[in-house]
Assembly symmetry: C2
Homo-oligomer: 201 residues x 2
DNA sequence: ACAAAAACATACTTACTAGTATGTTTTGAT
DNA sequence: ATCAAAACATACTAGTAAGTATGTTTTTGT
């Protein structure tokens, strides 16, 4: 196999496996050894492709975590250009949270987990995570602006603040839900209040 | 000094110092040695009073973290029996978040941090943290019920769901704020959207 | 005063993990 | 075919941290 292709494949394998492990066990509770041995690789391979664990962490955020938000939360906004704003807002959050597997509900949100575990330990992480939140907020704010333009949403609504409010609640609930192994009462209450909130906009 | 008094004092010193360290550096990044050496004590003293680190963690949650929520978020609800519900709701969250020092804003919320760091690693932690959230939610729901009774709040509002929604947003924002070292734009946006939300109830 | 138990100290073990030094195999350009 | 560099392996270092074993000091009930 060509070297550059092989290199890319190995890097991707490491980043993908790292994301899985980080999500399930946390960044600090995942050693380089467990990641590489899962892939039948060794430390030598890892440190050939990555400078250190921090670089791996940043790569996982920039690629895997960002992709998860892009695919799951941002892309759907643009995939439904004809759906009324409020309806789409409800769809986005309600369907998303209901689509999670029991494991994902118990494990919480990867972005949020990373924010709390290493989000304020290094500027590198901070900026990578901030970038994800801000793109998400921006996309939502655009949708809200569209709703205002179409007179579906009240003119005095601040779109950026509302976007942040929606994201915060979503992340907050996913955190609290981690305490309720297998019990969805929290999620159902969230959906109730969320629909009421969106109606009020 | 009497033994039981001395024992209580030492235990309290350890729990208090542990809370400080856990809040600032996290549970996993705080060693027993740093806690005890801060107090001019040794491992021997610690393991005489606590079975293990897990017991210390649970005690910190049950005492320090719970007390923080009780004092900062729950007690004020009952200290203002004559304030209209919506006004009090705004006061509770807005004044609270504005009262935090720059350090506290950067460090986030202790409950939330614990939830994310060890909240789903052990049933002991899970229950202790759940208890805090549920007492908080219950107190807020009571206030909302009172508002409904007084016709300040719409009758179709679900008080438990709304209480959870308020808590979730607060915790979510405090998480995201951790990415914005010293920048309060997030908090200002939160306040804007929060006031709008409470008005809509 | 004294024996026992509580309170605390010292020294050690064990386990884990990030990172390094160095060696071997594979790939690619000439 | 061959030499250099990339890709990966092996073995090691060093630091950290939870927990234990055991010793010393202080308190307490009699």
């Amino acid at each position: 196999m060509k070297q550059d292709v092989k290199s890319e494949i190995t890097k991707n394998l490491i980043v993908t496996k790292a994301f899985e492990r980080f999500y399930q066990y946390g960044f600090n509770n995942t050693s380089i050894d467990t990641i590489t041995s899962d892939l039948k690789l060794t430390k030598g391979a890892f440190y050939h492709h990555f400078k250190n664990k921090k670089e791996l962490g940043a790569t996982v955020i920039q690629q895997k975590i960002k992709d998860r938000i892009l695919t799951g939360m941002i892309a759907p906004i643009y995939n439904h250009p004809d759906t009324p704003s409020k309806e789409l807002l409800k769809l986005l959050f309600v369907e998303r949270i209901q689509s999670f597997s029991s494991i994902e509900k118990n494990l919480g949100c990867p972005v949020n987990n990373f924010i709390h575990e290493i989000g304020n330990t290094d500027v590198l992480y901070q900026n990578a995570l901030k970038n994800i939140i801000e793109e998400w907020q921006h996309a939502l704010a655009e949708l809200i602006e569209k709703g205002k333009f179409n007179k579906e949403i009240k003119q005095n609504i601040n779109s950026n603040a509302t976007a942040l409010y929606l994201i915060s609640t979503f992340e907050g609930v996913r955190g609290i839900r981690k305490l309720y192994n297998g019990n969805d009462i929290i999620i159902n209450q969230y959906i109730l209040a969320l629909e009421n909130y969106i109606d009020s906009l």
